[in-house]
């Protein structure tokens, strides 16, 4: 049964890595700036999910906190970039 859990964690990590590859493609080849920002938001959320999967694999507490920090910083930087697109400056 532990073999099944290990294989399912591996499959989930491969799927999340493919999702991060899709988001990285959209960051690199996005036609406009807002496409790149959507790609960055998707990349940060997928990074958070991948860190949760790493935490389940290793049984460690530290991965959860780093996942929380990655989620927080991804939201803040996405909103800051969108504000920059809207106004031309972040803090006014």
């Amino acid at each position: 049964m532990s073999t099944m859990l290990a294989w399912s964690i591996t499959a989930a990590q491969v799927l999340l890595g493919l999702a991060m590859a899709c988001a990285a493609f959209r960051i690199l080849w996005g036609p406009r700036a807002q496409d790149r920002i959507v790609g960055f938001d998707t990349l940060s959320v997928n990074t958070m999910l991948l860190l949760l999967a790493f935490g389940i694999r290793s049984g460690s507490v530290l991965y959860f906190e780093s996942a929380l920090i990655v989620g927080l910083l991804g939201f803040v930087s996405t909103v800051a970039l969108a504000k920059f697109l809207l106004r031309g400056e972040v803090i006014e």
């Binding site: 099944m4 859990l5 290990a6 799927l15 999340l16 999702a19 406009r32 807002q34 496409d35 999910l49």
Partner: protein, 114 residues
């Protein structure tokens, strides 16, 4: 992997199922980000996918860690509440910026106080 050996089997099955389902939903959302043609179609796919994917994978983490007694299980609820709160805000701000860049009218009224 000693913790995996000690986990009960029902929790293991639920953890594996929720992990695969959450990763598949997140991958479908990111693949939709890759496949759709316009920005206003593209912005929908990852928000739907990552919200449900986050709920599934955080639930898998809760179910896996609660029988082991390593730490309290309620910490993942923080991630779930945070993601559910911030995903619509991100989409709204981004679409407002994209509409402004596309020249659809002037700046919105709530931001035109300057």
């Amino acid at each position: 992997m000693n913790e995996v050996m000690d986990a009960p089997s029902l929790a293991t099955i639920l953890t594996a199922t929720l992990l695969i389902a959450g990763a598949a939903v997140a991958f479908i959302g990111s693949f939709g980000l890759l496949r759709f043609s316009g920005f206003y179609q593209r912005v929908h796919a990852p928000t739907l996918g990552t919200t449900l994917g986050t709920i599934f994978i955080a639930a898998a983490s809760m179910i896996y860690f609660s029988p082991l007694g390593i730490r309290p299980v309620l910490h993942e609820l923080l991630i779930i509440v945070f993601i559910i709160t911030t995903t619509p805000i991100t989409l709204m701000v981004l679409v407002r910026a994209a509409r402004f860049r596309d020249g659809a009218g002037s700046k919105p009224a709530s931001h035109g106080e300057k």
